[in-house]
């Protein structure tokens, strides 16, 4: 019997706790595969956020450090500055990165810290039960925008990749999605590039990944993928915002 597909060595054997159809699992797998393919599992140190992926430290097969809500980029800075030869990454949700931890991510990028950020944008706070995030779309219902997010009182959804692209220190910025197989492949490429940028010692890299939250969106997994494609991508256009010459 030939093995055609198996778990990546970048992940542990632990079963994910994510809801059925949640794309956090897909994104974990992509990061794990990239760690394995770049042969950096043994030298990687990941920083887990607060959010549904709070237990990411149980899943990645490398040393892991849990951080306070939003502070992962500061923790990663502390690790990378003391261990410049290790590979350091943060895995953060949109509440974590684009709300409570905006200062930390902006300034880590601004200093061009040489770590990689995997930013999972599911347009909602998953873990706490579906409250509005800075990334929630206009009109999108959440438990704290029960009539749908309105522009006048809550502002427009924050476009993180575009914002990061204005920061010189963010040398690699790309937005991808995982709503279907071709896009999952593209997402993996972007994640790999972001790590390669770190390995080349160039500076800060971030990949924003559009993700689903079937549970809090109140949809089936399949409808969630459709909703992502039809509603999120028009507002959060996919594409590369910046890549350094060295890894083009």
């Amino acid at each position: 019997m030939t093995v055609v597909f198996q778990r990546t060595k970048g992940l542990t054997d632990k079963q994910f706790h994510y809801c059925p159809g949640c794309t956090h699992g897909v994104i974990h797998r992509l990061v794990g595969e990239v760690l394995e393919e770049l042969n950096i599992v043994g030298k990687s140190i990941g920083v887990a956020p607060v959010g549904c992926s709070v237990l990411a430290y149980d899943y990645f097969n490398c040393d892991m450090h849990e951080a306070a809500h939003g502070r992962a980029p500061a923790v990663a800075t502390g690790i990378k500055r003391t261990r410049p030869d290790n590979v350091v990454f943060t895995y953060q949700g949109d509440g974590d990165l684009a709300s409570i931890g905006t200062a930390e991510i902006v300034h880590a990028a601004h200093r061009s810290e040489k770590f990689t950020t995997i930013f999972v944008n599911n347009a909602i706070y998953g873990m706490t039960g579906g409250q509005m995030a800075p990334t929630t779309l206009i009109g999108q219902k959440s438990t704290t925008s029960p009539e749908g997010r309105d522009l006048i009182t809550t502002g427009m959804p924050l476009r993180v990749a575009e914002m990061m692209a204005t920061i010189e220190g963010a040398v690699f910025v790309e937005r991808v999605s995982v709503h279907n197989v071709p896009h999952i492949r593209k997402a993996k490429k972007a994640i790999k590039k972001a790590f390669e940028v770190q390995l080349a010692g160039i500076g800060f890299g971030i990949v924003e990944i559009l993700s689903t939250c079937p549970t809090n969106w109140g949809m089936t997994p399949v409808d969630s993928l459709k909703w992502l494609e039809q509603n999120m991508i028009p507002y959060y256009p996919l594409g590369n915002f910046r890549t350094p010459e060295e890894v083009r």
Binding site: V41, D63, A68, R71, G78, I79, R81, E104
Partner: protein, 353 residues
Amino acid sequence: MVKILMKGNEAIGAAAIKAGCKFFFGYPITPQNELPEFMSRELPKINGVFVQAESEISAINMVYGAAGAGFRVMTSSSSPGLALKQEGISYIAGAELPCVIVNISRGGPGLGGIQPSQADYYMCTRGGGNGDYRHIVYAPATLQEAVDLTIEAFDVADYYRNPVMILGDGMIGQMMEPVEFREPKKRELPLKCWATDGTEGKRNPNIISSLFLDPAELEKHNFKLDKKYKDMEENEVRYEMYMVEDAEIVIIAYGTTSRITRNVVDALRNENIKVGLIRPITIWPFPNKAFKEISSSTKAILTVEMSMGQMIDDVKIANEGRLPVHFYGRAGGMIPTPDAIIGKVREIMGGDK
């Protein structure tokens, strides 16, 4: 050994480097700025790293990462900045990581002022962060003591895998005194086999976390931490007794106020008035046992603080209701004068007659 005339903030920085600290993460705030400035100058010379974070919250979380990576690391701040660091201190204590935090405190509440104050006593000894946690707080009264305690603090932090705080005030930070850098008493320190330094495929991943979703597990963790804190209370209490044996009034003061109070004791003793001083060097753990050594000649206790009265609670607990406890305090950056303290002693003695 040579003595060097140094400013308090710089002496603490130099002591940290002497102790093997190569990493410093900070954010400017008066009256502690000379400390990060010193580190920004000195650390690059020894292949260390200084990062000026964008906030105190970020700085303490950088410390969290660096400590997890297995290195000796320090941050410093002053009162409003320390308030912001409390989040991170709770996480560091929860994850059982060693680090040294310096608070060169100033008057509050709020933005307060920039003059020395001891009104951070509650915040430093009780912790402003969430959950049941504790850390040792050293309150040096001289720059030599600040240097000695800072050097030792790194060992103590590593020994217990716990944050340790050096609490000075604006006076300690800003004044100059001659100091020498002595070798500390060495402790046998555990290996940092828990550090995140990459598995290299040779071991299971190390995970640094303070999350325990199962309440039974979290309670177990709390019991474990509590045992560690009890050990600290048992073994790390430090204090100084000055002329307490036959004292009729025992004054309690730490840090800057203890310097002033020591002069008060000398002055009153010259007049044959029997006064003594208990000087806590650790304000957590508090030297409860010093109060057991108070003799039957003592009629009253006087707590002197640069606050509206925060340590007085611990003094009352330690005293266990045996003697009347009086208080004299100045706030907002005002420093008690010896005459004012002497006046307070005379008032108590008059009242006792």
